[in-house]
Symmetry: C2
Subunit: 309 residues, 2 copies
């Protein structure tokens, strides 16, 4: 199975209102709740692609129970979340029905106790034994050390399990130095990591900092990959309009599924670009428009070259 790690899981709540006006009172016309956090979105996309997936990370409190209850209704995803005393955070997306624009409010997440962090590390090591690949996704909740991902990357590598890291800031900087197989920064995260604003330069810089392969997501412009096997740029056949939340998580799902299926890099990148665009066309993160995915897949342009063997 593929393992995804979401240390700061979330109950993702979406509210529809006519138009958000600061300092006014609003009647919410529609409420939806979904299991959230980047690794859970990745897992749902992987499951929809037919892969067996296990999710781990932390869950606690009433929101954690809601999240886990909803996971039981998510086919193909196995719940291996570790219980904590604190409450899983909520995220609130307020979507204006008039314009489709979204305002986001993110709770900080529960304070993780040292014993809870130790319990997670043990569970993670056990889960790696049955894993063909692992994705480490998203922000760290309070109490988890900033070098957490670096440690989890090293454990995966010691277990011989390919590891993808998708985070930002200092956790990304430290995680990259632990030599993950793949990192997937967006343009901002890449610039923050390397100080370079030119994506090609920054992607190469990120490899020099320790990542074996760097796949930079450039939004509607697609992906830029620097890998031991070569360098490629993958571009969608057309620009799609919709909700970009979760598009990056679908790129992670595309890359991981391509890795375990031993696809060559150009095919992994085509799949990831088509999945990301099909996710923009779906209403929520962790889902994609399957018909659009199949239509787009053949039209993704991949240019670049393999490294001479």
């Amino acid at each position: 199975m593929i393992l995804t790690v979401t240390l700061n899981t979330a109950l993702d709540i979406t509210y529809r209102v006519r138009a958000l006006r600061p300092h006014a009172s609003h009647r919410v016309t529609d409420v939806t709740e979904r299991p959230g956090g980047k690794g859970l979105n990745v897992a749902r996309v992987l499951a929809a692609l037919g892969h067996e997936v296990t999710v781990t990370g932390f869950a606690g409190g009433a929101t954690g129970r809601s999240l886990q209850h909803q996971l039981t209704h998510t086919p193909g995803v196995v719940d291996a979340l570790v219980p904590v005393t604190g409450s899983t955070r909520r995220t609130i997306a307020i979507a204006d029905t008039s314009t489709g624009d979204t305002t986001q409010l993110n709770e900080p997440g529960p304070l993780i106790a040292p014993t809870e962090w130790s319990a997670f590390q043990e569970a993670y090591e056990d889960l790696l034994r049955a894993s063909s690949a692992v994705a480490l996704c998203g922000s760290l909740p309070p109490g988890v050390p900033v070098g957490a991902y670096a440690g989890l990357v090293r454990t995966a590598r010691a277990s011989g399990v390919p590891v993808l890291l998708d985070t930002s800031g200092e956790p990304l900087r430290r995680g990259v130095a632990a030599r993950p197989d793949i990192v997937k920064p967006n343009a901002d995260e890449l610039a923050e990591l390397t100080g370079a604003h030119e994506p090609l330069q920054a992607t190469r810089d990120a490899r020099r900092r320790g990542a074996h392969a760097v796949v930079a997501s450039l939004g509607p412009a697609g992906l830029l990959a620097a890998t031991p096997e070569g360098q490629w740029r993958a571009t969608p056949p057309r620009t799609v309009h919709g909700n970009p939340t979760g598009a990056g998580d679908s790129v992670v799902a595309g890359l991981l599924s391509g890795l375990v299926e031993r696809l060559p890099w150009p095919e992994r990148l085509s799949r990831s670009v088509a999945l990301a665009a099909a996710t923009v066309l779906a209403p929520v993160a962790g889902e994609f428009d399957r018909q659009a995915y199949e239509d787009l897949l053949g039209g993704v342009s991949v240019t670049g070259e393999a490294t001479a063997a």
Copy 2:
């Protein structure tokens, strides 16, 4: 005991953010959760005044469980909420730390099934037997008939229990016609009910529509009361600045506690005005600044006259 009815209970969540900007992403710096809905706020103030209080209405789902769990930690308040299949709504108050201004988002509430509404009516009738007074508070959740409060007023009167109604719109219009002992509209609700925008005129009109006593809350200007015993205006000694959420609920608590203690109307009104001002000075609805309450109480001005006996 005093009974308060909150058909549309809520889990009141407050978020602190630097400043709310539509269509941006916000890190919430502080999260608080409290049992909410007008009748629950009234109950907390009554309990703080030393009265035994029972709360009823509906609770369901994960948010209902959170609300009921928190009620167990509220001294003096007995939980007699009726379980429902739907989920108790959340309300989100987003407070800007820079200005103190608040943006409010209110979920609609669970759909109440006809059998759940019947179960509530039976529980209500049982609870009335032990009640010295009852307050019917707030909006109706979906599925509850618009004439619900009229029926609950009639049941209370048939049981010989004094009944206060605090709602708005069509539920208020129908409820008033069932002849409650007291209604407590604010200026807007009173104008909507009567069509009259001059408060004294509107207060008298509301009595003619069926309410035995009408206590209009005029915000910082205090209260205006038209009752069978006379007419009075009660004004706080000074204008206080703070969070007005819950001030009206504290007026209800002041009126009900004064009623069961058989205080004369001028004393009930003084207490209610002082409690409302002391609630503005407290950070959240359902709480008041006790020192401010005691300081303000003696300074409330009550003018008017008793009806000739």
